[in-house]
Amino acid sequence: MSSGLYLQMRGITKTYPENDVLANDEVDFEVRENEIHAVVGENGAGKTTLMKILYGLEQPDSGRILLKGEEVRIHSPLDANRLGIGMVHQHFRLIPEFTIAENVVLGIEPRRRGIFFDRERAVCGVEEVIRRYGFSIDPRLPVSRLTVGQMQLVEIIKILYREAELLILDEPTSVLTEQQIHKLFGTLENLRSIGKTVVIITHKLGEVKAISQRVTVMRKGEVVAVRDTAEVDERELSRLMVGKSVTFQFEREAVNKGRVVLELRDVVLRQKGQDRPLLDHVNLKVHAGEIVGVAGVSGNGLAELEDVVGGLRRVSQGRLLHDGRNITDLSAVQLRERGLAYVPADRLQRGSSLQSSVMENMIISSHHDFLQGGFFRRRAVEEFAETLSSSFSIDGDPRVPIGTLSGGNIQKVILARELASQSDFIIFSEPTWGLDIASAEFIYAKILEIRRRGIAVLLISSNLDEILALSDTLVVLYRGKVVASLSNERKLSKELVGEYMMGLRDDSRGAAAPSDNGPTETGPSESGPSPGEAS
């Protein structure tokens, strides 16, 4: 087994114009032949972008790619395929109504007499690949009948069928059970032993230790470290991933907790087609005047928690209580009536109607207040909008479509709207992602203000610095479970929280459980939007 360099990416830089995020900043990345190389980092670190560039789905602003020493240009997935690069995406690209064989050969179908699809040859060809790599699955099965783990296998077969030599897997285990992960790793090791090279993007440190030879750590668009896996432990990786704490320009006064405003009791959320619960017996309490921060890596249940508390998704089991009263089965409409305020992570689709005016966006939950005999008092709405705009420093005419505002201003409008309601409870999800520092600090100030007023705040965020600065109580979700519920009176260390987030510690299992060599479970879900990592 040679250890020559199979892949080199030099000076890769990429900025996404939509939100001006520098996803990759002069990234140098190297993979040796026949190794399994892990790329780790938090959300927004730039890992997926780098791989998309490698696979031809994105073009870098600058930089070079060399395969086996030769410079190559990869303009599309077809180019990548031709160069022997295959990618298994985080969200599968399969057609459930077709069979496995059909999905695998789609685009390069074997033909009979030039025009007919040679189904038999396709099945044979796929069976041959299955056999060669030691899998066991019937290519005649329709994909709709497969488990998630099997679907992923199909994606792998798809790229092996196209004779990939370099396999890229993007967060492959986020949807798998422990058993399936074992199988996957066996497969990867097998592939490596017959000469393939594998790059695996992950944020699960246990997996890095289990399967890779080397690991590259990325943070905020840069490569911060490259190590031999045998020579680092998970704690160090975790530290490298989260980096130093950022101090914010504000002080949080001592908490003044009141009654329990919102409670989640033993909440379980299951979803058809997912092999395990997205929320796993979650218990949570938010008091008046308290900020409960929920931390976790995207994909571990944060988005699901948001949906459930926001009333947009029904729980499978368990109860939600507001002021002691059962609100479990209430619809979003009813929750709004009870005074729930909610700043969603998805600003543009859920949090606003881009084509409507700022004014119309501002009154979505409260428009009933502006009616008089069924008709809108236009002046009253305009005044309301203008008052809100000035107190939240939003420039511009409230009659303008909100889509023309900057991201920061859109978020301010959403914030203004939600805070204007007479609620005793508010949930924030990823409130400052994609925002500039000034807007972010403005929002932090507002959050602290409402905390002072005695409102119960649930803050869901994958931004560790933010959570640590703001929260009174810190909860960590890992694979849908609450693995920590800690008081943040004396500021917790980022490293410690990072360990919970990576699954290295788990209070729900009793004593802190240090590094797990086995593969670890995660709640499968769609990740919330994150800068530059949009998949």
């Binding site: 409409v333 009536e337 689709q349 109607s353 409507s356 428009h367 479509p401």
Partner: protein
């Protein structure tokens, strides 16, 4: 609240529309040159004809009246992102129901008969379209197809009644008896057929505008139409606003039928209303689904029709040129959507 548009957004929209209409007129001119042996005369009558005398002008406005109602019906539906493709059947059945009621009422019903008939016409359309809305809400049945299917079936059924049990053998058409003179709308512009329903049409435009922009149903309908997820998040009962817009749309279409009977036709003739539904879609399109814009858009559409008719009567071309011009307008308007979209995107990048 007033429709919030910056001045220049409005301007680019208007500009785009002008370009569309300009190109369409150009095509009309080219067609006329190709097809007519006296192109200049034809052009004169095509573009100016409808204004040359009271008869043409009044009739043109009269033709626009049902289109205002169907156009409003489609505009309401489109604004709420639901699709009512059953307009033809809703108009036709509304007309029949109105006729039946008026024929069945004794002479002395006076002022009750008219409103009753119109209310029934409105209800007929509302129920027909509302069914599709209901199925969509309950079981996600595609309302576009179901409204079309129901409407198609209804058209046959109405045909049956008009040519069968309700046919009046004394008139030489496939039509019912004429309704009593007291139920004819007053003519306001003789010798044309223009009647007071023109005022109803204008009222309808204003009322629907008011509904959409000044009431909370209108607000909620529009929000659901623009972004269903946001509306749901904001606490709007989204499923209601699948059914309600369809009901309103159907009601307006049914009303169109009733008004057409009381105003112009006075009897239900087989397939007399053909095109009112389809043209309503065209009108809503040209008006960009703005209720106030439906009024001029309907007149414009009627103008094309009237111009073609005048050209046909006074020159040597056939009326169907209007159809060709209309189709060009359709193509351009819907393709135009991308121009304004591009323009707006460019502007939203600071």
């Amino acid at each position: 609240m007033k429709r919030p548009h910056r001045a220049d957004a409005l301007l680019t929209g208007a500009l785009g529309l002008l370009i569309t209409l300009g190109i369409s007129f150009l095509i009309a001119v080219i067609l006329i040159f190709l097809l007519s042996k006296q192109p200049l005369t034809t052009i004169y009558y095509f573009f100016v004809g409808p204004f040359t005398n009271r008869y043409y002008f009044g009739n043109m406005l009269n033709t626009a009246i049902p289109l205002v109602f169907t156009g409003l019906g489609i505009a309401v539906a489109f604004k709420s992102s639901v699709f009512n493709l059953g307009g033809e059947g809703q108009v036709y059945s509304g007309a029949l129901v109105a006729t039946v009621i008026l024929l069945a009422l004794p002479q002395s019903s006076g002022y009750l008969g008219g409103p009753a008939a119109l209310a029934a016409a409105l209800a007929t359309g509302a129920v027909l379209a509302g069914m599709s809305g209901f199925f969509k809400m309950k079981w996600r049945t595609d309302e576009l197809i179901s409204s079309f299917l129901i409407s198609s079936a209804v058209i046959f059924i109405v045909n049956y009644f008009i040519t069968g049990p309700l046919d009046d053998p004394s008139n030489s058409m496939l039509a019912t008896r004429a309704v009593d003179k007291q139920y004819h709308f007053l003519g306001i512009f003789p010798p044309s057929k223009l009647d007071i329903s023109a005022i109803f049409a204008m009222l309808a435009g204003v009322l629907v505008f008011f509904l959409m922009y000044y009431t909370h149903w209108g607000y909620e309908m529009r929000m659901c139409g623009l972004n269903r997820e946001f509306s749901r998040y904001g606490g709007i009962n989204v499923s209601t606003y699948v059914v309600l817009p369809m009901i309103i749309s159907g009601a307006l279409h049914g009303l169109a039928g009733g008004i057409a009977i009381m105003g112009t036709y006075h009897m239900a003739v087989k397939e007399f209303s053909y095109g009112m539904g389809w043209n309503g879609i065209a009108v809503a399109l040209i008006a960009k689904n703005n209720p106030l814009g439906v009024l001029p858009a309907a007149v414009f559409f009627a103008y094309l029709d009237a111009g073609a008719k005048a050209a046909m009567l006074h020159s040597d071309v056939t009326f169907e040129i209007a159809a060709i011009v209309q189709s060009v307008i359709f193509y351009l308007i819907t393709a135009q959507a991308i121009y304004s979209f591009l323009r707006r995107r460019k502007r939203s990048r600071p």
